[in-house]
Symmetry: C2
Subunit: 354 residues, 2 copies
DNA sequence: TTGTACGCGTTATCAG
DNA sequence: CTGATAACGCGTACAA
């Protein structure tokens, strides 16, 4: 089916392309009658504007680009959902790319998005991104850019993220208040800021409660297979410290789940022998046994907010209004479940706002 | 930064736009020298072709559209990963949309993709899609279309899917061979074909093994909250049948996981008191306790294959070659884990090809 | 080897 | 109220 153009409608009605265009766009300077004729015919022929031509003419694509490290990740898949929802509301479409945690790929994808003429870019940086020329390039091109979750502080653009340090601080403080004293931390790799911040939050919570920080209680998870990291480090921890550890705060839920598995396999009771506190509130944390206490990051909200801000910047740019970059910190919450509630029989489940 | 065009390069070098264009595209009828001058300048100015203009001229966008019911779904997020990988290899970008299982939305999204001029569309239908005019429209527009996973048999286009019936048949047969006799089925809603097919496979396996089919052992899960469905139906099942049931085959892993939870809460041992067999091999099924036996659908392969076929059709269309629609059935496999292995102590974990 | 001219489909300006 | 004309940036048949 050959797609119908303004020209065809114009010829059919013996009027000019200009008039057809105006009629369709509801301009006031078209007679009621011609307008009706045009609209009717357009309807009948199922006219759709050629978006390439419109984009060329209007210099905007009505598309934004989104780059994330990995689609197969509960957190990101929800972020995406939030972005898609807002994009739809704004009549925008979303090109999705995943960097697979590779800097080079991320860089290439930025170039692709720029060459495609997207109106804005949302990106969550790969763990291996340590230089930001590619982001500077976006800014130089005057394309609205927003970093979310995995951000770079030095890049001059809007950002949406959580306060990892505070969230970790809150979680560990909660454990301390519950009476746990020897609290280990299974941390992430040295690089991503999130990993560092959560570690710092852990450490600070200990110190603020007069519990000496013991580096021997910190285990590194950097095999990119979180579950196994949790399992293996749990094994190592029990070898190193016997059963003297009260609780573990892990950088992400999956690591806690690995620990649960190890405990299951070795007759160690969670939370009675060892309490656990995760991070991210993966869906599976609510169905595993025992249910896992964790930190809710509100990924949907992160996606929504990021997209809203980006579209606002796109609009402002279009209207030549000034843009000031926003830094939005999405509040986190502790989700308390069984894994941190020693010797209580009830499945208490409460959300704590801090 | 104003983006640089052919015209600017031409002016700078005092040659025609045509020559610049030809030089950049490696045409043979350009002198070595001018070619070099053009390439150098283009490089220096970081020239990027305006994709709107190219698309308008060439009548192709180098974009495909992908519609899925939900991004927050382990299966789909992996399918997406497969699609993105292949798209990248083919130098294509992907616009992602989610229908949220709503027919009206899916229909609208098809229109949006068509109006955007995508070169092809991959879609997994929403559960509420029972009419296919919107798909016919795509076909009428001569845009390559491929259905995956949630397909419609009557639509004339390529399809990639699994044999749900056989997979279910294999799973239930496995249970039977293991010695289980009273096997319940927690099925899905009446509508999606997958749900029907898995049920039919279940039924057939029973009959082929001379086990009478008992409709009372079939429970319906249709609250769209699989986990709760599993939990609640488990409760109901034990009320209805006491502990006479050997095993349950569930339409998806999450429902099995709900059952596990119910069993945990009520001192029922899986698999010793009740064996479970899920479907889809969600990641969480490998870390839950007990690990869940399930059906591997190879979503990555589904994504890859779908994209490959679509790009082949796009290419053929471009070259005016004939297109014949393919129906590819991706083989499934049983993943045997603890939940179906009564009274074995070892965590046997084997994959069975059927 | 280079350049002219046209068209892709739309929108904006301006003259009638 | 209507329409002619130009422009967006690129690619290509054809002329020079």
């Amino acid at each position: 089916m050959r797609t119908v153009t303004l020209k065809q409608i114009a010829e059919e009605l013996n009027i000019s392309v200009t008039t057809v265009s105006k009629a369709l766009k509801g301009y006031s300077d078209v007679s009621k009658e011609t307008k009706k004729r045009v609209l009717d015919l357009a309807e009948r022929l199922d006219y759709t504007p050629n978006s390439f031509a419109v984009s060329l003419r209007m210099r905007q694509s009505k598309i934004i680009g989104v780059i994330i490290p990995d689609t197969v990740h509960y957190f990101f898949s929800i972020v995406i959902k939030g972005i898609l929802k807002v994009a739809e509301q704004h009549d925008y479409m979303v090109i999705l790319m995943q960097s697979n945690e590779k800097f080079e790929l991320e860089k290439k994808q930025i170039d692709l998005l720029l060459s495609k003429g997207v109106d804005g870019i949302l990106i969550s940086l790969s763990n291996n991104t340590k230089r930001f020329d590619h982001l500077q390039k976006v800014i130089k091109h005057d394309i609205p850019l927003l970093l979310f979750d995995k951000i770079a502080k030095t890049v001059n653009c809007s950002k949406v993220y959580i306060d990892d340090r505070k969230a970790a601080y809150d979680a560990v403080t909660y454990l301390i208040n519950k009476g746990y004293r020897r609290i280990a931390h299974f941390r992430g790799d040295l690089n991503p800021q999130n990993s560092i911040d959560r570690f710092l939050g852990y450490k600070q919570a200990l110190l603020d409660n007069n519990i000496p920080f013991d580096p021997k209680l910190v285990y590194m998870c950097n095999n990119n297979t979180d579950f196994d990291d949790g399992y293996n480090n749990a094994k190592q921890m029990f070898e190193d410290h016997g059963h003297t550890i009260d609780a573990v705060f892990t950088i992400t839920d999956l690591i806690s789940i690995g620990i649960i598995k190890y405990c299951d396999d070795n007759g160690i009771k969670v939370p009675d022998d060892l309490a656990l506190f995760g991070f991210s509130n993966w869906f599976m944390s609510s169905v595993i046994n025992p249910e896992l206490s964790t930190v809710e990051q509100h990924p949907f909200k992160i996606g929504e907010t990021s997209a809203e801000i980006l579209f606002d910047e796109i609009k402002r740019k279009l209207n030549d209004e000034p843009i000031e970059y926003k830094k939005v910190v999405i509040p986190t919450e502790l989700v308390i479940r069984k894994s941190s509630e020693k010797s209580e029989n009830n499945p208490i489940k409460k959300v704590i706002n801090l």
